[in-house]
């Protein structure tokens, strides 16, 4: 039997699938279901220092080849979320990655510190949300500030991942973060987009702009993962963007991802998507003669 276990910056994952940030990520009950569905790790929804109500609906719309959302980083704030994190730790055995958000390095550090106290086993810095001004992509443009947050959070003794966006100079940001001690990267966040209803003759999202996700962005995400792996072959990558089955997961792994995020395509396939990916990976490995996921990571780079 091929082995699906992977090692991700010191975290041991029973398989390479990770629930991506932003979906299903605020409740311990749902986290438990994600674990039961087969996920190898769980990323929380992005949590900030203060509670955020997010934007008014419509905040999400299904499009022909993907999904557009502008939820607006709605979350209960780290103090309230601490209880949920503790319960997640009690009920789950897969690693829990806290997605930390904020408008400054100081806020990121504060959220991460509290989250780790409450049980998070790793931190992912969301410096790439495309629809909240001052908190997402804009912060990611300030590479030195992000790097300083990475340095401080690294001292908490847990792996730190930086979530990248195509809207960044992501190679430069990645380099600055690695120099500051980042453990690895999550790539990519949603891509800034918008949709207009031609009969309403108005933008669909209340926020006008949103983040585009789903299978349409997969080739873009695979390209970023490939570039990152080429530039920093030793930095583990969680590849995210339109993973809708085992073939997509494999593409990310071959491009250089050690783990693969599963997100909005759950809208179409529901939680059964995890099992579908895992069974597909196993069958592929058996058929193609691979014993472990590690053998496949970055394989597309070698001649």
């Amino acid at each position: 039997m091929p082995r699906l276990e992977v090692e991700l910056a010191g975290l041991r994952l029973r398989n390479p699938t990770v629930l991506a940030s932003g979906v299903l990520g605020l409740s311990a009950g749902l986290a438990k279901r994600v674990e039961e569905a087969g996920a190898g790790a769980f990323t929380t929804k992005t949590v900030t220092r203060e509670p955020r109500r997010g934007y008014p609906n419509p905040t999400f719309v299904v499009l022909e080849h993907g999904y557009l959302n502008a939820v607006g980083l709605a979350n209960p704030g780290i103090d309230y979320f601490c209880r949920e994190l503790r319960e997640m730790r009690q009920r789950l055995s897969i690693p829990i990655i806290l997605s930390a958000g904020g408008g400054s390095a100081e806020e990121l550090v504060e959220v991460a510190k509290r989250g780790v106290e409450c049980g998070a086993q790793a931190v992912e810095l969301n410096v790439s949300c495309p629809h909240v001004s001052g908190m997402g992509v804009e912060l990611g443009h300030r590479a030195e500030e992000v790097a300083s947050a990475v340095g401080e959070i690294k001292r908490l003794g847990v792996p730190v991942f930086v979530k990248l966006s195509v809207h960044h100079d992501y190679i430069r940001l990645a380099e600055a973060c690695l120099d500051a001690g980042a453990s690895g990267f999550t790539a990519i966040n949603t891509v800034r987009g918008m949709a207009i209803d031609i009969y309403a003759r108005k933008p669909v999202l209340s926020n006008v702009y949103g983040g585009y996700s789903g299978r349409a962005i997969k080739p873009i995400a695979v390209r970023v993962v490939y570039e990152l792996y080429e530039a920093f072959p030793d930095a583990p990558i969680i590849g995210v963007g339109g993973v809708d089955g085992w073939e997509a997961a494999l593409e990310f792994i071959l491009a250089g991802a050690s783990a693969v995020g599963v997100g909005s395509e759950i809208a179409r396939k529901d939680l059964g998507l995890f099992k579908e990916i895992l069974e597909g990976l196993e069958e592929y490995m058996e058929r193609e003669g691979f014993n472990s996921i590690e053998e496949l990571v970055g394989l597309a780079h070698r001649s």
Binding site: G22, V23, L24, G25, L26, S27, A28, G29, L30, A31, K32, R33, E36, A37, K45, P51, R52, R53, G54, P56, N57, P58, T59, F60, V61, V62, L63, E64, Y67, N69, V71, A74, N75, P76, G77, Y80, F81, A195, D197, Y199, A200, R201, K202, V204, S206, G263, S264, I266, A267, R268, K269, D270, L271, G272
Partner: protein
Amino acid sequence: MGLEPKSAGPRSAQSAGFRLRAGHARGAVVGARVAAKQVLELKLEVDLDEPEPGQFVMLWVPGVGEVPMSIADYDGGVLTMYITRRGRVTGYLHDHVREGVRLFVRGPYGRGFSAIERGRALLVGGGTGAAPLHFLAKRLRERGVDCVAALGFRSAEHAILLGEMARLCRVEVATDDGSMGFGGPVHEVAAKLLSEERFDAVYACGPEPMIAAVLELARSKGVPFEASLERYMRCAVGVCGSCVLEPLGLRVCRDGPVFSGEVLSRVEDLGRWWRDADGRLVPLR
């Protein structure tokens, strides 16, 4: 035959062949009238995939907002909804929407009621909770199932769907102020019906304390039960997690909005907690 047994664990009833239409369907308002105090009856001509009773739609008013809405009927391409004035979007609908206006809908979404094939059904509704029960009653009657509907309202002025329901089921009315029918909570009417008559299924929709009370009654009589719940929703397709019920992690939009009695008896949030837009639990008002 009762309701098919439902496992309380994770379900992915829609995993196979779940069709997601892109964008919103546009509809023209073909009827907008005040059906009762603070309740607007809205009829929208709109092309949707055939909804099941208990499913819901997201109703979008461009420039104003989008809200989940239960389906009272979908017949000949006309979607009927009963809308209580509550917030920004429903207030706008009450004040500004007239015949001819264009509105937008996505859905139908979620898991609806499992209508029994034969026997007798008790439908218990509170306020606009009567709306999805009307759609269900139509389905039950098509199958030849007898139904009794116990419908509760604040007062006679708030009552909706009485005539329509009377064409499908025997109707018993309760009002809080006694201005029509039994004076008191509708679950007391349900209790009397359940003790005096035999039912093969109980269906409920309305305020959660009422649902919790009827769930207890149905359980004590050993009658299969289903109820439709409501929560703050965003995506409506099961990915954002805004509408989750604890401790089971059930998404009202995707695993529900209709849940079985076995499941609901394990939902600690039932009748107690509402999840706010920021994800915090607040006491259910």
